[in-house]
Symmetry: C2
Subunit: 443 residues, 2 copies
């Protein structure tokens, strides 16, 4: 029997307490499977007196997480503090410099400083593992680092934020407006008081930055991601999507662009209604990977929650206990290529467009011409007659002159082309509000 | 740089050739990631002269796979011969006894001799890895052996046979009968000339036997699995399922039974139409795992195909190259518990029942009474009026006396109860053919 593996856990919120419970409840099984015991040797948190639903009687208390990180009495520093700067960063750096393995659930830290930290881990021959940092309980990091290593990854995409998926699912299933569902998500604790980080797409972008590096062997580059949130999605879009055979999901997508760069983007996306990803509802997350050998692999599971996250953190600890030594970003840091950004204008795909078109002669013809001028061809056009007139049809059933809603699905085109067409349409004065545009992801 | 890792590959069919191509195409990347080269040092196959689409110029040829397995010039024996006896078994045993690591895609071999082979591996301190043996390119073995080790698994289930899923998908989407779609599957190469192994559920049962052992820490016990195939599924069932909000899938399911035993079964199953698993169509496979910490994790991907299988075989080789040493069935063989079978009669769940009921007074009342006598309560009843009369209603629209189709969904009950009720209904003489019964899987 090998010597026990000693953990130092910094941060004892719900994930930290869940991890300690998991290790306590499964101690016997884990010891048999690993041939060694895992011991919570030391802990650190902001408030020592706070009651926590886990047994910490054998752990040494540290007031300072950095002192814990450097303690010679631990083998692994488990960072559950959070935040891309401050104590989390300082402590992880200190742990790696002191030769401690690091396990962290901190997506922001990795999205901002992943390569630098991987470099420190490499110098110290330490592990830096972060399964819980992306998509909670879904083992996507291990899948990329280990299972798919024989594949050239062409694209990786997924539902990476449970808050947004909860809101979009509720809007779709209960036909309720964005603001109302957001307020419910806040009441249920799925969304923060300031929800910008989630609904603005930034949380998903942190995770996508990590996945992009792993999938394509590039440096982690959070700032190179094109980010749009779900704030602009209306009930009209949800309904139109349903009629057209789609669901709207906030996806993070990264792929090898035809130009040779990496196209990485987070935005509301239409996915086919009869796809497994369309049935990923509520706070559940998913990640799909297109590999040149395996084809498409889809992993679906809880993206958050203390127990699911603790399960992922535990899997990293278990890997280290077994002696696993996979470089944080698969290849040594020196082999990580610079991230060459493919601009969003280069994006190729189909688009959903919703226009409020004034009912006046020639309006639709002008719109069609603007699309045609840019080489954008249309797969379908739906004109909603309820509450408004048919554009350009003076005999329409609605009030003459009132704008009608026109929904278009384009064939594959470029973002540059569709944006150019929509700008021209707007400046022609035939639409009463800014056109809505949602990308359709092929799958 | 560590010394190269030398492979001996036995079996050069499409998977073997795909593996050699994968290793050739990705050589540079793999060498950087692993810090060592993977070399195909030796190969063996039945016919040396057969043209193969891969570069074997540097590999030593062996006519005898057993001699290859024992060769001191290889580190890993890759068994791609197939079959649960004969050369595959002999060669794998020889390799393990000679101290070679073994990677195999052979589900039949593992389902029959998994524990004995794991024992040999343990004695020799060798790896015995088999990611490709279950669900092709889906990394379910690694997920169970590594990612979910901190979980108590409550249930594992999935679509484990692509042939059956192809047939059921086509029957559903194109409203075509079983026999016709089977013939198409045979033409397309998805089904064998003798399709019994696939459509009878035995292939799925082999895979389920392996998953059951990994999920519950029990000995591999193929013979303890209750197996039913898809031969009895008719278009009437497919249509009724659709109307009731379900899809029919051949699932392999294993769970901890209330009695304390393991309930392991392969059979056609109704799954909710609006579940991700319902959208797993064609030859695609999936596996879902319910863990006490992680909740439900669903993995979807290609269950077969030479490239996807080669991707999984490569991942095992990569793990060994990295020095990974996970026991084949997670814990040392001495700790694998005997498989205590929970009889199918103990199964608890809801049921779909389709009856051909004679149109005579009191028929439906008698059926309802038989259900009630066994404590089976009904959630829904659908009587199809087309082509036949309403049972017991002399004013029915069909031909009087002709049997009508009655479809029932029960509330949760036991298999023993529903079987008892159906036997009594049959012996009452109110039905014109044997009742159809399909289990509904809760998810």
């Amino acid at each position: 029997m090998t010597a026990p593996l000693k953990l130092g856990i910094a941060g004892l919120g719900t994930v930290g307490a869940g991890l300690v419970r998991l290790l306590t409840d499964n101690r016997e099984h884990l010891t048999i499977a690993l041939g060694r015991e895992i011991v919570v040797a030391a802990v650190s948190a902001r408030d020592r007196s706070k009651p926590r639903d886990c047994d910490l009687s054998k752990a040494v208390w540290f007031d300072d997480p950095v002192a814990l990180a450097m303690s010679p009495d631990i083998d692994i520093f488990v960072e559950l503090i959070g935040g891309d700067e401050g104590p989390a960063r300082v402590a992880v750096e200190a742990a790696l410099k002191a030769g401690r393995h690091v396990v962290t659930a901190n997506k922001a830290l990795l999205a901002r400083h992943g390569v630098a930290l991987a470099g420190l881990a490499e110098e110290s021959h330490c592990a830096l593992d972060f399964e819980a940092a992306v998509a909670g309980g879904i083992p996507i990091i291990k899948t990329l680092r280990e299972s798919l290593l024989g594949n050239r990854i062409e694209r990786i995409y997924g539902i990476l934020n449970g808050t947004c998926n909860f809101i979009l699912t509720k809007m779709q299933e209960e036909s309720r407006p964005f603001g109302e569902v957001l307020a419910e998500a806040q009441r249920l604790g799925y969304a923060e008081a300031d929800p910008t980080f989630d609904i603005g797409g930034f949380d998903a972008a942190h995770k996508l930055a990590i996945l992009t590096s792993l999938a394509f062997g590039t440096e982690v580059a959070f700032d190179e991601i094109h980010v749009e949130g779900i704030e602009k999605i209306t009930q009209a879009d949800i309904t139109a999507a349903d009629e057209l055979g789609y669901r709207i999901k906030l996806l993070g997508v990264a792929l090898r662009a035809p130009s040779g760069g990496i196209e990485a983007r987070v935005h509301p996306t239409m996915v086919p209604k009869h796809s497994a990803i369309a049935e990923v509802s509520g706070v559940t997350n998913c990640v799909a990977v297109d590999g040149d050998r395996v084809g498409t692999l889809l992993l679906v599971g809880p993206g958050a929650g203390s127990e699911a996250t603790a399960s992922a953190v535990a899997s990293d600890i278990i890997d280290i206990a077994r002696g696993g030594g996979v470089p944080p970003f698969i290849v040594p840091v020196a082999h990580l290529k610079p991230h060459r950004r493919a601009e969003i204008g280069e994006h190729q795909g189909a688009y959903y467009v919703r226009l409020s078109v004034y009912d006046k002669p020639g309006a639709m013809a002008a719109i069609a011409k603007r699309m045609g001028d840019r080489g954008v061809s249309l797969e379908s056009i739906v004109q909603r007659r309820t509450k408004s007139a048919l554009p350009g049809a003076s005999g329409g059933r609605g009030a003459p002159g009132a704008p009608a809603t026109v929904t278009l699905i384009t064939h594959e085109t470029t973002e540059e082309a569709i944006r150019g067409a929509l700008e021209a349409i707007e400046s022609d004065g035939n639409v009463s509000e800014k056109p809505q545009m949602i990308r359709i992801e092929a799958m």
